[in-house]
Amino acid sequence: MLADVSVTGQGGLSRRLTRGLLDQVTPGLRWAVAVVLLGVSGLFGGLDTVPEPPAETVAAGTPVHGGPWEVTVEAAAVYRELGKLRLEKETNRWLVVTATVRITAHESTMPPSDLLTLTGVAGLINPTPAEEALDRDKSIMRRLQPDMPERILFIWEQSGDAPVPTSITVAVEQRTYREDSLSGAWYWMDVDGKGEDEPAGRVTVPVRTDLAPPIASPSPSVAASPSTSPKPAANRTPSAGPTP
């Protein structure tokens, strides 16, 4: 048998093989070949279910899966004052979206500043939140741990000249786990590499204006510093957290 595929033979290996495979097999075997090919394509993902495009808009309280995170937008509200947070202009107001973020990636993850973007809101001072704080102790949100969902306050500043929205739409950013075309390593990245992905989903949530601020005393991230006993750190930026 080894001699059969010896390259010393005349006529070219591939041509002989192709002819051998196609011409000589019986019609029944062609079916078998077709099934094998289908199976092979299945091995490379040919039979995988193609995910449905994300649901366009869901109601508050519905989880949105964005790849390494799952976000459940719960509520939105505006406040004139929010503890020690300082508005750029006194006539402005705070717009606070409360959402629970669960890391579904296998390791600790710091959500990007554009995790949530608002549409249908006029007069935002900045498209990314001015503050993102853990509801638990009002400390700045940084790294979140896998499978330890945290309720987060996403805080934007809105111009006082713009109308108070009655309802807003929150878009949840998504990432996909894919191969980096440059390094060949796998990361959570933008779906198409251009950063212009559709959001994982949009959530419409009514805006409350009559709530008491969501609050506690500021609880800075704290330091176990050298040669002294552990004490609050000065490295909390910005230093003001939401307070009553």
């Binding site: 059969d4 296998h106 390791e107 741990q145 330091a223 050298p226 609050p232």
Partner: protein, 189 residues
């Protein structure tokens, strides 16, 4: 006979293709091929990674941390490990510390607390070790299956050694309900 021979040829080709596929898919992906080199050890024993040594001296768990007047709670438990770490042949800092549970989830040290010892803030000179405590927030159900991971690079731990020390906590629900304090990094004299 001729047909049999041709079928045999086809079988060889398929076998070669299958072998190629097996080689290609033997490593799940490049991330796996570039994974850190583990240096395993036990609590109480010194583990020598490429650039640093580490020894876990004590492990405990608690429902909350007391840092000065602040009490940091958690929905899971705080794992507190007392470490003794040192540089080996050049000034080194340990900038990555995490706990991996039995399901492969990786919980990095909390940045709700500043931990100089393992956040890259403490550069150690060779032969002059430090002691201190670090805290990691994990789900209660994971507390019984944790391995502490330590590496010197905060951003990229691939293709370098990583200390892996099994943490002997048997049951996360048996952790102390009282807030616990952390020992700050201190030079060992």
């Amino acid at each position: 006979m001729k047909l049999l021979r041709r079928l045999g040829t086809a079988a060889f080709v398929l076998a070669a293709l299958a072998a190629g596929q097996a080689v290609v898919s033997a490593e799940p992906n490049l991330n796996h091929a570039l994974r850190p080199f583990p240096v395993a050890g036990e609590v109480g024993a010194e583990v020598a990674a490429r650039t640093f040594t580490a020894r876990v001296q004590l492990v405990r768990c608690a429902a909350a941390l007391r840092i000065g007047e602040h009490v940091l709670d958690t929905q899971g438990v705080w794992i507190v490990a007392k470490l003794r770490v040192g540089a080996r042949f050049k000034p080194t800092s340990i900038a990555y510390a995490a706990a991996r549970d039995g399901a492969g989830k990786v919980y990095q040290t909390s940045d709700r607390v500043s931990l100089d010892l393992v956040s890259g803030g403490l550069t150690m000179q060779p032969g002059l070790p430090y002691e201190g405590e670090i805290a990691i927030e994990v789900p209660t159900a994971s507390a019984g299956s944790l391995t502490l991971l330590l590496a010197d690079n905060s951003l990229d731990q691939r293709m370098d050694s990583m200390a892996e020390i099994r943490l002997p906590i048997s049951d996360g629900s048996a952790c102390s309900a009282e807030p616990t304090t952390l020992l700050a990094p201190k030079a060992v004299s």
